[in-house]
């Protein structure tokens, strides 16, 4: 595997503003005819270049919190600021463009496009930011090599194992050099050995790329690697611990 830092955008040095700022965030949604409150007045800040984990029981609001940070959902109340951008000020197209440039996603069920090869899945985010074909090819191949899939570039998702698919998903999330990578239960569909290797991989690429990783999980293995742990219960932040070096 090759290092990936040379291909990715490096965070600026000096005093760094938090990459995520949430202020009194509330989220209520309608489930059938019942209003369900998913988040209640959560305020938090996540510094740059951190391996952060949001932990909590099922239904505690972890995924909702990640969706708000990822700008794929809007809060019912409060302010969301990501990469120093107040998200509520952006219209739908601008939010889409913002996500395309700044945020990478890793999903529990991999969510690769089944008709595209591993290479094409990884290349896809670069198409959205209007990169030239030569640059796309260079970055995509380097990224696949970095996650150990240089030899599987032409294979479709259904020809890959679960671990390989998640590696493709990691490469896809990182290839554009985002400031934040959000991962919702990335090891939930993997056996423990594969899950461990994926965690190792993510930890390594996070260190190499200095990208902020934010996970929603209750995987103890993943928590053991975290720099920041945010615990939530019933939609409220109950604990915040910093375990790694800032």
């Amino acid at each position: 595997m090759t290092k990936i830092e040379s291909h990715l955008q490096q965070p600026q040095g000096g005093a760094k503003a938090p990459v995520v700022r949430l202020h009194e965030i509330g989220k209520t949604y309608l489930s059938g005819k019942i209003n369900v409150t998913a988040l209640k007045g959560i305020s938090l800040e996540i510094p740059v270049d951190r391996f952060s984990v949001v932990v909590g029981a099922s239904g505690s609001g972890k995924t909702t919190l990640l969706n708000l940070i990822g700008c794929i959902d809007a809060p019912s109340s409060g302010k969301v600021e990501v990469c120093e951008q107040y998200i509520a000020k952006l219209d739908d197209d601008a939010v889409s463009d913002f996500r395309a440039r700044n945020i990478g996603f890793i999903f529990q069920s991999f969510s690769l496009v089944p008709v595209l090869s591993a290479y094409e899945n990884v290349e896809y985010p670069l198409l959205l930011v209007g990169m030239s074909a030569a640059q796309r090819q260079e970055r995509t191949l380097a990224m696949l090599d970095a996650v150990g899939l240089g030899g599987q570039a032409r294979q479709r998702p259904n020809e890959l194992s679960g671990g390989q698919r998640q590696r493709v998903a990691i490469a896809r999330a990182l290839v554009k050099g985002p400031q934040i990578v959000l991962a919702d239960e990335p090891t939930a569909n993997l056996d423990s050995a594969t899950g461990a290797s994926i965690i190792e991989l993510m930890r390594r690429v996070q260190k190499e790329s200095h990208t902020t990783f934010i996970f929603a999980t209750h995987d103890p293995q993943l928590m053991s690697h975290a720099d920041e742990i945010f615990a939530i219960r019933d939609g409220q932040l109950t604990d915040h611990r910093t375990t790694g070096a800032p």
Binding site: I72, D92, S96, D97, R99, F105, S109, S111, V129
Partner: protein, 448 residues
């Protein structure tokens, strides 16, 4: 599956369209070979001339024909220009074996011009006819009769026609009219001066008509053959003869006029231009002449064209609706099956418009690929049918002609069907595409 529905739609439209195009071309060729593209009449003839053709003769018609031939615009467009004389009268066979008479509708023409007109084949249908030796420029006494008229006049035996009744053994009723028939026969013999004898043993009939001046006149016609006319009414009344004989019958010793000047153009596409030019030319020379095209003279042509066009439109609408529903159904299923994928790529930064366009393009591609397959299939089937040697008798025709599906020769038809089906598929994709674009990202990601 959806592509197959589009292909089937394109196939049905193109095969029927090709068949209809061939019918139109066949009818047009048949009409143009028979009556040309345009016929020039004296004003009033088109509406009133059937009652008394002789009263609407064009005098100095040679001058009119020369004017047209020498015109720098319309002259080069003309393939054949020929005078015709329509007439009505009574035909009688008083040869002794069959004393019979019948009203007739006659046309006087120049046989060599008729032969040249029958060579017209702009659409390459191979329906040209060899020169007809039964009519001759050199023998103005010869003529052709409709098969029905030949039967009525008792000419079956000499012309070798089936279906004639046996001659009546007793002619008590006919004997009442015998003096009149004898008079007509005598008149005809006297009119010919008794100089021409029928040495070929062809049957002869006498034609009685009123001259332009109102006097009765009789000529003798040597019937050199019979010709089916396709329409029974015409078949029972039709006589074609040399123009000179028709003029002799209608105008006697007076000035010989004609009731029409027929123009056959080299190309049908010049019809409107030629007509406009002739109208201007006649106005310029203060000629009280009227111009009619073959569509006006044969309403049957227009009726068939409209009938086939209506059927084609009906088929196109049915196929369009089938394609519309098939594509809507497929694209809706597609959106449902790919909801999670939509959520994923929206999360990655694809705009709503990007999702919308993706599904619209997919719909149009289904339409385009299906229509292309249908067009290829239609071309292959048409080629097979065209080489199978099938024949049929088109409406208004009496002879078998090859059955053809004119798909390859109609690029505009193929293009129109292709575009129409692709457009319908694209429109059909709009609703599912908009539904996909409206999906909330988190809901789409949650979809299983």
């Amino acid at each position: 599956m959806t592509g197959s529905a589009v292909a089937a739609g394109a196939l049905a439209m193109l095969l029927f369209g090709g068949f209809a195009s061939y019918i139109f071309a066949g009818l047009e060729t048949n009409n143009v070979q028979r009556i040309g593209h345009l016929t020039i009449f004296r004003d009033g003839y088109f509406l009133l001339g059937a009652g008394n053709p002789a009263a609407y003769g064009i005098s100095h018609y040679d001058d009119v024909m020369n004017l047209i031939r020498q015109d720098p615009v319309v002259g080069p467009m003309v393939n054949v220009i020929t005078p015709t004389q329509s007439l009505v009268g009574i035909a009688g066979n008083f040869s002794g074996e069959s004393d019979a008479s019948k009203t007739f509708l006659g046309v006087g023409l120049i046989p060599s011009d008729r032969d040249r007109m029958r060579q017209w084949d702009e659409f390459h249908l191979n329906t040209t006819r060899a020169p007809d030796p039964r009519l001759s420029d050199q023998d103005s006494a010869r003529g052709l009769v409709g098969v029905g008229l030949a039967r009525v006049l008792g000419l079956c035996a000499p012309l070798g026609l089936p279906g004639c009744p046996k001659p009546l053994p007793a002619r008590t009723a006919a004997s009442v009219a015998l003096p009149l028939q004898q008079d007509i026969a005598d008149l005809a013999q006297r009119d010919l001066g008794g100089a021409e004898a029928n040495a070929s043993h062809l049957p002869e009939i006498d034609l009685l008509a009123a001259t332009a001046g109102g006097a009765p006149n009789v000529v003798r016609l040597t019937v050199s053959g019979s010709e089916p006319q396709g329409v029974k009414e015409l078949d029972d009344n039709f006589i074609a003869m040399h123009l000179a004989l028709a003029q002799q019958l209608v105008y006697g010793r007076g000035e010989h006029e004609v009731t029409g000047i027929v123009l056959q153009l080299r190309r049908s596409e010049d019809l409107l231009a030629a007509r406009a030019r002739l109208t201007a030319l006649f106005a310029q020379h203060q000629l009280a002449l009227d111009i009619r095209d073959f569509g006006e003279l044969t309403p049957f042509y227009g009726q068939v064209v409209r009938l086939f066009a209506s059927i084609f439109l009906f088929i196109a609408i049915v196929m369009g609706v089938i394609v519309l529903f098939a594509v809507v159904n497929t694209m809706t299923m597609n959106v449902m099956e790919r909801t999670n994928e939509i959520g994923t790529i929206r999360a990655m930064g694809v705009r709503r418009s990007g999702i919308r366009w993706q599904f619209i393009i997919e719909g149009s591609l289904i339409g385009a690929i299906g229509a292309t397959l249908g067009a290829i299939l239609a071309l292959v089937i048409a080629a097979i049918v065209n080489h199978a040697g099938l024949t049929w008798i088109p409406p208004g025709n009496v002879n078998e002609v090859p059955l053809q599906l004119d798909v390859a020769g109609r690029p505009l038809l193929v293009l129109t069907a292709w575009l129409a089906l692709s457009l319908v598929a694209t429109i059909a994709a709009l609703i599912p595409a908009s539904r996909a674009a409206r999906l909330a990202v988190v809901d789409a990601l949650r979809h299983v």
